[in-house]
Every structure is written in structure tokens, then in C-alpha cells.
């Protein structure tokens, strides 16, 4: 059966061109970039050329880009590195309620270390309010971390405006943004945004998994989180992952080059998908911001049914989608993002996220729209909930055996 992959926010297939850059690195340009002989110098050159490509795609200087082992590591580094390094100046950190777990759980770890974290709420569309941020700023605020675009509902946050507010309050308060979902889908320019720190990840832009990067604006005080060799100018130890760096560089180059075309293509199909779903599926609702959203993100709530059933049914029909974020779909807890949007837990369970990619076609979208209606209908027919028995009236009984921890 033909498969239709609509979970590009979870991960993307690696571009053939990217693979072509990587393969010779494994067997030919295999040297350790720290070595001074030919194989080492060639590897070093490869790393620096690709650092320049990533920098270029982000509007940064090459010496402001540090490779990491994942987007998660970049997020951990930004938060822990900035917080721990600046704790003499204060212990207050601001982030939002809709961040990825790589930020939220790191912030919680920092709370255990004695930092004081404010989690800004969002509106029903998932937007952080710059006004709220302004009010939350304190004299001892050392770091603000707000994601550029949300991974579940695709909402784009007003980073530039928020950076201005923060810098006006105190130019030394650092601003980090998790741009893992934004990069490759909307323009990301560190200078234009004015951020001090910015995280990206390879596998969301048709590059390899297990490689990320942290942009650290020149002069930004950030502590290391890993100790070891002198790689990455003494800031991130471990033998450089040359093949993945080559792949990430190429992917970033393509992402930059193809951005306008890519955005337009996805946006058109996304709008068609959203329209089609809302029209054909009764009691369905779009989640996230109607306009300020990632060009590939179409996310919904379907009343009376639960997300996993939808996913399994779609999968049987050859369609890959997700419910909540990929990372949390294994757990029973409803998505923290949907809860932050104000959805009750019961409704939040009925979520579906379809994220389009470069290769998504119009036929794919037609097929998905055609399939989704009957799937929802079948599941609703099995559900004890309906208009007459809405979720809030459902009996809460014998339910205490499976509490959340």
C-alpha cells in the first residue's frame, strides 16, 4: 500500500542529496578533525564548511554555531548553561507553558537546583502574550526561553517583539528560542530576531537524526554542560560527528534555498486539508492559531473520540499522523500544550496532528480528507459519548485506579 507520511513535525526522511553528502564521509573522509595529518585536516575542513552553511541559513557567524548531539541537547545546554553561568546575577527564569519537554523538563530540573521559573500561559490559539512577558520580568530575571513555533499546534510566537521587551527591561537578560520546528519552515534569522541563543535540530529539516546545533551569540555567557576534549572551541566535547555535520550543513543549505517554494507548497495544501477536514467531519475544530501557524501544520480536535484510535485507523489506511506530540503519544497524559490552550483533558485526548512535508501532494490531501470522515464516524459509533452524553456528564467511576504521576 502507498504510504502517506504526514508526521513531518516528528521527523523527516533524509533528503537524497543529504545522504549523498554523508556516505563518502563514512568511508573516505573519516578522519578525526582534531588530528593534524591529511585525514584530520580534511575532516576539519568539512566540519567548518558545514558550520558555515548552518550559520548562513540562520543569519549567524560560523563561530556562533556549536554542534550538539540533538535538539534536546541544544535546549538543555541553552537553559542550564545560561542559568548556571549567570546565577550570581539572579535566579529567575521565564518560559512558557507550551514548550517542548526538552525545555519544560529542563526548567523543572533547574527549579530543583534552586532557580525560580515562571511558566507563561498562552491564549486559546497557543500564543504567549508579550504583555504577560513584560509583567513577569523581574530584576533578577536572567533568562527567557520561548519557542519560535510550537511542535503540536504550529503556533508561531512573536519572538522579535518579546526580545525587544526583554532587552529594554535589561539588556543582560538572555533570550533563548527553541527554533527546532521553525527552522526550514519559516524564516529564522538570529540577528533579525535579536536572540542570544537559538536551538535547531537536523532531523526536522530533512537531515539526519542525532545532530543539532546551538547558536550562541558572540560574548554570551554560557557554561558547558558536558566535559571532555577540546572540540567545538572547548565548548562541546566529543569527537565531531563529521558525517552528520555534513548532512546537517547540506540540509540547512537546501532548507534556506527552498524555503519560499517549500512554504508556499505546504501552505496551499495545508489550507486545503484544514478546509476539507472541517467541512467533512462534524464536531471538528482546528487547534493552534488560524494565521500565525507553521505552513505544514494542520491540527485538530474531534469530539467524543480518542486520538490513538484515529491514528491506528489512519495507519491502516496508509496514513501516518500523530496525536499530541510524538514524544508523549506513548503516555496516557493528555498533551500539556492542548491543556495550556484551555481544552479540558477529555477533549484534548481527541487530537490529531497532521504535518505536511516537501513531498506531500494534492492527491495525498484528497485521500486523507476522504478517509478521515468515515474513520471518525466509525469510532464515534463505538463511543459512549455523543451530544446527548457529552464528556462532562460522563460518569467518573472506578476511575481512581489509574492516576497520573
Amino acid at each position: 500500500m502507498k504510504r502517506i507520511y504526514l508526521d513531518n513535525a516528528a521527523t523527516t526522511p533524509v533528503d537524497e542529496e543529504v545522504v549523498r553528502e554523508m556516505v563518502p564521509v563514512f568511508t573516505e573522509n573519516y578522519g578525526n578533525p582534531s588530528s593534524i595529518y591529511k585525514e584530520g585536516r580534511d575532516a576539519k575542513k568539512l566540519v567548518e564548511e558545514n558550520r558555515a552553511k548552518v550559520a548562513d541559513a540562520l543569519g549567524a557567524q560560523p563561530n556562533e554555531i556549536f554542534f550538539t548531539g540533538s535538539g534536546t541537547e541544544a535546549d538543555n545546554w541553552a537553559l542550564k548553561g545560561a542559568a548556571r553561568r549567570n546565577k550570581k546575577r539572579g535566579s529567575h527564569i521565564i518560559t512558557s507553558a507550551v514548550e517542548h519537554h526538552a525545555i519544560l523538563h529542563t526548567a523543572q530540573q533547574l527549579e530543583k537546583e534552586g532557580f525560580d521559573v515562571t511558566y507563561l500561559p498562552v491564549d486559546e490559539y497557543g500564543k504567549v502574550s508579550p504583555e504577560d512577558l513584560k509583567k513577569a520580568l523581574r530584576d533578577d530575571t536572567i533568562l527567557v526561553s520561548i519557542m519560535m513555533a510550537n511542535n503540536e499546534v504550529g503556533t508561531i510566537e512573536p519572538i522579535k517583539e518579546m526580545v525587544e521587551i526583554v532587552k529594554e527591561h535589561n539588556p543582560r537578560t538572555l533570550f533563548h528560542t527553541d527554533a527546532v520546528q521553525a527552522f526550514g519552515n519559516i524564516p529564522v534569522d538570529v540577528k533579525d530576531l535579536g536572540v542570544d541563543l537559538l536551538s535547531v535540530s537536523g532531523h526536522k529539516i530533512y537531515g539526519p537524526k542525532g545532530i543539532g546545533a546551538l547558536y550562541i551569540k558572540k560574548g554570551t555567557p554560557v557554561e558547558n554542560i558536558l566535559q571532555g576534549g577540546a572540540q567545538e572551541k572547548n565548548r562541546r566535547p566529543g569527537t565531531e560527528n563529521t558525517a552528520s555535520i555534513a548532512g546537517f550543513g547540506k540540509a540547512a543549505e537546501i532548507a534556506k534555498e527552498k524555503l519560499p517554494e517549500h512554504t508556499e507548497h505546504m501552505q496551499k495544501l495545508r489550507d486545503k486539508l484544514i478546509k476539507g477536514v472541517l467541512e467533512t467531519v462534524p464536531k471538528s475544530e482546528l487547534t493552534g492559531h488560524p494565521e500565525d501557524r507553521l505552513p505544514g501544520n494542520a491540527s485538530f480536535i474531534f469530539d467524543y473520540i480518542e486520538g490513538e484510535g484515529i491514528l491506528l485507523s489512519l495507519d491502516l489506511a496508509g496514513i501516518a499522523g500523530s496525536s499530541g506530540s510524538a514524544c508523549t503519544s506513548g503516555s496516557l497524559d493528555p498533551s500539556h500544550v492542548l491543556l495550556a490552550l484551555g481544552l479540558p483533558a477529555g477533549r484534548a485526548h481527541g487530537s490529531l496532528r497532521l504535518t505536511l512535508g516537501r513531498d506531500t501532494t494534492e492527491e495525498d490531501i484528497d485521500y486523507v480528507i476522504e478517509q478521515l470522515g468515515p474513520i471518525v464516524k466509525r469510532l464515534r459509533a463505538m463511543s459512549p459519548l455523543d451530544e446527548a452524553h457529552p464528556i462532562d456528564a460522563a460518569v467518573y467511576e472506578h476511575g481512581d485506579h489509574h492516576h497520573h504521576h
Binding site: 467524543y304 486520538g307 484510535g309 496516557l332 463511543s383 459512549p384 476511575g399 485506579h401 489509574h402
Partner: protein, 129 residues
């Protein structure tokens, strides 16, 4: 993730719906937790479960466990149905992922809730009589 039997019971679940003139109805779970199961039964005077149907809001495992659990008690005596454990449901499905064990618990509990409802209805009928 899921066994073939789970997927089969998710795709073609048995006993979906509501038994007409049911004399035993049980509902457990909460939407906040992601699962609600409602079982309705027609139990005859000999205590035989003549018919049983379910409606489930929940994941694939919730639907599959509802399906096999109803199959396992259909036509059985209530005394036997009372002994149904969630482990039997899991075994019948050829296993469940650890995160989904609670679905089998819920299915067993929904049956017990329906049987309690039947007992209660009987008591009431007696009192009224």
C-alpha cells in the same frame, strides 16, 4: 506495538453498541484519563449473560479489550463472569504493551460494574415486589 489479535479486535470489534432492554449497565473510566467503557447486558433469570455490548471511548487497546472481554463472558453465567481477571483478557489478546495494561483492568472493571448494577436492579425489583 500491538499484537495481531489486538489490531483485529480494534479493526473488527465484536459486540459494539448497546443492548436493548438491558438489565445490567456499567460505565467506568474518565475522559481525563483517556478511557471510558460502558457495558450493557441482558442477563436472564438463570443468571446467564444472554447478550452483552460495549461502547468505548479510548485507545486501540481499550477497544480491543472491550471486544474480547465481552466475547469472553457472552453466554456465560454471571458467577463465571465475576471471576474474569484482566490477566485473562491480556492473555487472550496475546499480550499488551505495559502502558496499556490499564485498559484490560478497565474492561474487567466495566463488567463488574454492570454485574453490580444487575444485583442492585434485582434488589430493587425485590423491594418493589
Amino acid at each position: 506495538m500491538y499484537t495481531e489479535k489486538v489490531m483485529e479486535n480494534f479493526t473488527n470489534p465484536k459486540n459494539v453498541g448497546e443492548v436493548e432492554n438491558a438489565n445490567a449497565v456499567g460505565q467506568v473510566g474518565s475522559p481525563a484519563c483517556g478511557d471510558i467503557m460502558k457495558m450493557s447486558m441482558k442477563i436472564n433469570d438463570d443468571g446467564i449473560i444472554e447478550d452483552v455490548k460495549f461502547k468505548t471511548y479510548g485507545c486501540g487497546a481499550a477497544i480491543a479489550t472491550s471486544s474480547v472481554a465481552t466475547e469472553m463472558i457472552k453466554g456465560k453465567h454471571v458467577d463465571e463472569a465475576r471471576k474474569l481477571t484482566n490477566q485473562q483478557v491480556i492473555d487472550d489478546l496475546g499480550g499488551l504493551p505495559p502502558a496499556k495494561i490499564h485498559c484490560s483492568v478497565l474492561a474487567a472493571e466495566a463488567i463488574q460494574a454492570a454485574l453490580e448494577d444487575w444485583e442492585k436492579n434485582k434488589e430493587e425489583a425485590k423491594t418493589e415486589a
